[in-house]
Symmetry: D2
Subunit: 324 residues, 4 copies
């Protein structure tokens, strides 16, 4: 990053979160580097008050850009998602699911346009990370993607880099109409903004990961981790990836992932990610304990529930009698 | 409840959460009432070690029950959902989405079996509660349900009781394949258990409620409320509805719902609940502030972002330089 | 506030929290009012770069101020506390407890200078608020204060307004050396700052309130409330008193205070606030349940602990066996 | 622990937390070992209904015990503290600070009985752990303790094991009347219980550790850590030391301690632990940034506060205008 450079420039409009993300990351990684943001310069804005004037200028000068006066909405894309804002979407009551907006979407078809036949995907996890995939046509998918190759085999799964996993799941999710979200979000700079997101691969990965966790992570660890999710999401969204508090929460999350190793089977169908089985060498599920059939007294003695409930009830009884 | 009675009996098996819910509620509401649970009585269990013996006894004595040796799984149903446990589902790798299990489900068809045409539903909220519905065939739906009548009209919506809203949404969700969940849950008594749930109406209601909140609830209020959701859910699941800490969290949640009044439009299609617009007299979304076009300096001055980011970066720079 | 005025001016230095508190409160209460802060104006700062120049100007023009070049530290005082910053205290290793700084303190003597004899104070609470005091020389104290009068009697306590309670406790705490704190705090604008605080009355009130809560508030309600204290304190410190999230947390806190009615007895002695008894009509303490003597089987059956522990242990055993 | 043994026995009364701590720890570390608790055996309790009968039996059979009918309260002691319960303390209004109870206390004198002259102690921390002490009479203190020896020197501090640090601080705190607490606590088994604690060394250590943290830990890391303290304390108190959720929170806490290296100076005087300076190579305090004097524009530009406040105010203004 800072090999010789003493300043960073970016073209964010001054109203969004990206400017914050760029500059907070720079502050954390290169505290002596200066940030330049033309859109926050009053002189600059006198010449280019908004996107319309900038698009006109680019067209007049043959500078190639993706936005146009015909498609006046804003698009931001990365490996995980693409977002659309502005334009007709500035009215939160506007319905963006109709065929009229079919052309706007990039990563996915709509659920209505997805195939009528479900397809299965199986995902192999190791300590919380997806490391391999199993799909009946994986070779064809990799050929279609072009830039992704399997790095090996394990338990019948094709091993892939994180990038490879994401690319395959984006393709699978996209063609099955998975991962479209329409939301009014809260930008860090203090305003609400309506956006449409496509996150096909991320949606599948989240469902798979959560599903495996239910089998292998202790109940109370999960609850504590879950109570920190809003904070963690807020930090990432607001640009505090390199902040010490994000690192501290990460340490807790990583600790909970030690046993998140195993397989998840999902069924993808017209926008749905359906749980279709999970298994793990670290499974905490015990048929012997949970079964409703008899003959398992050793593993679980029903009499214990009597005392368990009685002592949990003690303080509720005290509250009920309080002040009588 | 306690009009004359000095004891309560229930038939929970001694391994689940229902026994806890029954008895903790009794403790909070009627602290002097005794609870009787035959399945936790060793004598009783000697005669009926498990569900198999109990089903046999019931069949031998012509006692009508819903479980049978043919459908050996357990079902629990209320207005909000139905759950299935035990039987083939005791293997967490078992795929319960296939046509073979089509007969098990009660409240919903599978996404694959749902109609090919989406339908829209609009929901009217007041202070966080759904009070009315708009649907092009609402009359036909109410006729089909039989026990639900509209209690009036408001802004083009048919007003309904909470029971009525739930009944209509269950029907709509169910026929569109919405709300099936397959999960390994963590019972309060300490064991993991695999269950399949159908929650068609609840799934729609949750999506609608969340969607309206994004428009009308302040960012930070939402984050605090969200950080308490795992705790709140845990309390309800574990049977602490009448506990003082649930009431305390409720006070916070209720406070955040003061402005959750408005309309949400959803598109239901083969398992999907798609956001298709929301509006409210309490909307905090301001086109003037959020727009990417020029001429709005009054409402939002981009120069402010410079200072905002600089001060947010200050402690990150201090951390980056720490110990150098 | 905004009766006719269309702007608010304040003299905060541009580095502290007070400017934020003033302006955020104004934003919440009078969103159309402008804020003027001379110290954040570059022109103004050219003439007055810092406190030194401002003090010189004031002295040259006979403007009466409290700071001086001899006492160059900053003081901020309100009913609850006084704070000292800057000057010698800018070195965090500086020891401000020695006799050399005796003259700096305003609200309290040092513990070493406090009387050798303890004095007792008893505080009467109603729903979380201190409403009355009992002290053997209360009349003399009220005479000394001058501006505080009892508004009535209840259970042997002199009833007082919140202002009156605070004034009396400040006097009592101050003369007993209570409430001095030396801290490196984290200003909202992103920097650390070392400050010395005197909070005599607040320290006593906090100790009393907490003490009564232990007797009358349910365990789990207390835990949830306590987990929100860092957030609540942060909001108040950063100036978000009128923000919706502060109001939401307040609703939870207020709910927990319904039963915080009763008496607390404290012993004040040379900097110490010692718990010396608490009682309440809402006491949840039951000798019958807690006693270590026999004959109380009805209220608490020790056998229940066996099942209680067994089920709490179930998931720990599952974790211990995980992956074996 | 489990070298050959297949069961563990303990003498807890069946009403307290110790039984839970013993047995949950056993469950986590040796899930196949059985726990035997005579006081929870109905047969046993028929012969010994309470402490009184047990004391009588012990006296009749010449079994040496610490409790007696003359001192009928219960004492539990470890390196960190001693607690007293039962007896006269079963009345929460009972004042245990008077000279009548002077004989009960073991680890500390009362503040009134402490020396009239303060003494200073300096503590050296490394990554959150106290590793060394500096005191003008440390040699005499070590001689008095007998079982503690310094393991080396660093920066003028005598290095000590954790045990050694605790022993010295217990002696210093005890002789200065530090660390007595009178509290109504909430046992895990569901009842409230009044106890008196002496924690002289722990009180000093907590004050020192917190004080150093204010200088070297980032604001937001601290807030997140603090919000988890009630949960962490609850887990330790309830016996879940070896539970996975305690380990997960520990990972977060440990992460925040990376920079908690440095020195703290405290003044001990008649029950008070007074902050008297802290310093660290990882100090995040910067005089250049925090000073109220001029000429520091580079490090902190006051103009930035204008934009910072404006954007923080944006959502408050939106809330103020909501629904108008």
């Amino acid at each position: 990053l800072a090999e010789g450079a003493d300043a960073i420039a970016h073209g964010a409009t001054g109203k969004g979160n990206d400017q914050v993300r760029f500059e907070l990351s720079a502050a954390a990684l290169a505290p002596n580097v200066k940030c330049i943001a033309p859109w926050r310069d009053a002189e600059f804005r006198k010449e280019f008050p908004g996107r319309a004037e900038m698009i006109a200028y680019a067209e007049a000068n043959n500078i190639p850009i993706k936005a146009s006066m015909k498609k006046p909405y804003s698009m931001d894309r990365n490996l995980l998602h693409i977002s659309f804002e502005a334009g007709a979407m500035e009215d939160p009551w506007y319905d963006a699911t109709t065929p009229e907006d079919r052309e706007m979407y990039v990563l996915s078809v709509s659920p209505e346009d997805a195939p009528d036949k479900p397809e299965y995907i199986e995902i192999l996890f190791e300590k919380g990370n997806a490391i391999g995939l199993r799909h009946e046509n994986l070779d064809a998918i990799l050929a279609e993607l072009g830039d992704v190759k399997s790095t090996g085999q394990q338990d019948g799964y094709a091993l892939l880099t994180p990038y490879g996993v994401m690319r395959v799941l984006n393709l699978l999710g996209g063609r099955n109409g998975i991962g479209r979200v329409d939301i009014v979000e809260n930008r860090f700079v203090g305003m609400k903004s309506r956006g449409i997101y496509e996150t096909p691969g991320g949606t599948i990965l989240l469902a798979a990961h959560r599903d495996l966790e239910t089998l292998v992570v202790d109940r109370e660890s999960m609850h504590i981790r879950d109570s920190l999710i809003p904070k963690y999401a807020q930090l990432v969204y607001n640009g505090f990836w390199f902040a010490p508090e994000r690192v501290a929460i990460q340490a807790l999350v990583t600790e909970t992932q030690k046993t998140v190793t195993g397989e998840v089977r999902l069924k993808l169908y017209k926008g749905n990610v359906m749980q279709a089985g999970r298994r793990s060498p670290f499974s905490m599920y015990s048929e012997a304990v949970a079964t409703m059939e008899g003959g398992q007294e050793e593993a679980y003695n029903q009499d214990d529930a009597t005392g368990f409930i009685a002592l949990n009830a003690l303080r509720l009884k005290a509250t009920a009698r309080q002040g009588q």
